[in-house]
Subunit: 299 residues, 2 copies
Amino acid sequence: MTRPDTDHRPPPSVAGEPLAIIAAGDAVPFEVATAAAALGRRLMVIGLEGVADERLKAFPFEALKWGQFGRLEHLLAAHGTRDIVLIGAVDRRPDFSAIGLDFGTLKYLPRLIKAMAGGDDSVLSSLVKALEELGYRVVGAHEVAPTLVAAAGLVAGPAPNKSDREDAALALAAARAIGALDIGQGAVAVGGRVVALEAAEGTDAMLERVVALRDSGRVRWKGRAGALAKRSKPQQDIRVDMPAIGPNTVERVARAGLAGIAIEPGRVLIAERAETLRRATESGTFIYAVADEAAPGGA
Amino acid sequence: MTRPDTDHRPPPSVAGEPLAIIAAGDAVPFEVATAAAALGRRLMVIGLEGVADERLKAFPFEALKWGQFGRLEHLLAAHGTRDIVLIGAVDRRPDFSAIGLDFGTLKYLPRLIKAMAGGDDSVLSSLVKALEELGYRVVGAHEVAPTLVAAAGLVAGPAPNKSDREDAALALAAARAIGALDIGQGAVAVGGRVVALEAAEGTDAMLERVVALRDSGRVRWKGRAGALAKRSKPQQDIRVDMPAIGPNTVERVARAGLAGIAIEPGRVLIAERAETLRRATESGTFIYAVADEAAPGGA
């Protein structure tokens, strides 16, 4: 999704103000809700049925099926919110059999069907557009829960050495190039060479490949070296689609023999932050947030 | 290896003129020798011991160990050649234990050791430089055997439809972008989306990944669709490092459910051409050579 010029506005985190969190899968919505509540936002969580984290029920919670746009409109109006966060993993296109179409959805149906044909990004951007047309403001998780992203500098683990920093810069540049083509958000560089680029397979599969490359002797290095880079695509709307790392990323990076992880400051979500940082420290894996000159959120 | 401005010179294929082919692994050196001999070149094949194709012994043949640079100099001088082709797969860095160092090599040793530390490309470019300093002309296989590459247009198989041509263009553009960063030469696009990019794993492993992406439902399409693109890196010295496709590539592309293969005209070698084209026709897989505006060898 494209949203070129709105990433620099101040975070709308105003204590007491209502906020609706529309939550899909994984643990991140719970962390966002917790952080936003800690900042004093008056929450309503609208959880996608069957995928939303059960822990979200600790907050004022409503369940929603895919396709219940009418009910969504009703819930949002009842909460009196203007700000909405859309967060959580939507791995696949919605399962049509689980869609509970309601009357409010019917008017959006032609657009939705078109959007689904274009993939997840289009479904999300259609949803954002529809919400904005209704007067809502869709904000990023990092805007209501700024503790979930990283400031520039070493986040955890040992400081990367010169060679690792060079690999980090190289991998970030490669990730930027493929991001500009809307292909992926990740790359791995070791010893001055980019050895893996992420496309549809995702970061985990790319890291498994790095293990295989090393096992087969196709790429060789001693000890721990190199970096995984994760960053947003330059044109990406990180309000609804934010790159993320988590404990699992650290585990896989360590297992691949990489020295650490380089992320873009402010625009990459650190899921399960405490656990992620703990594993980074324990496994001696750096997490290093580094801005590059050309990055929209950088410098 | 970089050699920006010399790809447009006329092919030096002069009947009766001597030509030395320094052959590493795989079947391609034999095809180059056969094609060059058919054009009337007076051949000497210098085969890397243990890896050169046995069939090359049908031509005037000398065996050479890695590191026998003195012997190489002697053989080249004896053949009275000016033109040299370096061809065949050099998958790994040379096994030092199999290197038969001779006196002629000793003077190049410091340079060679430095080159080996930088990977295969550097070893080759050092060899090219050393040969050029001795007054030899290193030419590309496509220059002495132009039948091994493709002219623009459909090479084999069914004509790609509009959607496949769009995927071909998209994959070629992605391959160009990662090639410009010196990362890889291949990409796969399906249904308007780049789903895989090649780095250190190589084309075969990337195509296996496409199979896995489809099997897992991460990427979905019906029947045969999309394209593998293979092209040279913009700055690549294709005299000594030419992208190639072969029968195995066609098999894997068909197995991945892709509609075909898009290659850069004039700069991608079609290994075992008759067999490759036969399999393309039989499996209904297009091989399509398409120039893009920005490509050095294109238009």
